[in-house]
Symmetry: C2
Subunit: 112 residues, 2 copies
Amino acid sequence: MASETAKESHGSAHRRPIVRAFELLGQRWTLRILWELRDERLTFRALRARCGEVSPTVLNRRLKELRANAILDHDEAGYGLTECGQELGRHLLALNDWARRWAEQLGTDREA
Amino acid sequence: MASETAKESHGSAHRRPIVRAFELLGQRWTLRILWELRDERLTFRALRARCGEVSPTVLNRRLKELRANAILDHDEAGYGLTECGQELGRHLLALNDWARRWAEQLGTDREA
DNA sequence: TTATCATGCTACTAATTGTGTAGCGTCAAG
DNA sequence: CTTGACGCTACACAATTAGTAGCATGATAA
């Protein structure tokens, strides 16, 4: 069970997909960006507005990275999820249900 | 379909749960920590080793935050997921499948 | 033509956050 | 009483993000 430990050289190339995914998604704004694009294309500025006027510096950096990873693409209509990105989007949608229950639980814990 | 737009006052208190979740999960190491704890309890030091010797400063900060949000708890056996955290863990497991397909696709795209 | 406006995006500084290493206080074992 | 592991803090340095200004481009309109 601990046989994986050896593989865990934190080089860069052959890191497990899930870990690479976490590195990508675990950056500020990445999840939010995907969420806002979950069912519509948005222009740079519209997307920025949805994210509470994030710094364009970061937004652009994320967008580039996400495009490089084939999760987003860009056309005249703006930014949007690729097919692969949409699959990811569906997972986020599932997370939404979890989040609601989570928030509810936290709320009741604290009010009582 | 765009009827949600109005709700998007980016105040702070009544932010949608999913957005709060993204703020929490979208911090460096948070997803990874949850992943490493997905099916076993780990001590601080063991967990740190699993995460490639993250700085204990950040690790401890995340652990505190996650505990404050009832996603983790801590006992003599170390850190582990709460019931709520385990549900989240299951979502991450699902993400694992996505990540594999994603990596595969990226790989073939580039080799060709 | 010139003015207006929105678009995507870059530049630059300040503030926040993360990294890396050392090490403290506590405990159990030798 | 040394040794080692534990959870964790301190602190200086590096990297990332925030916040704002503004440019180049293209469309619209006077």
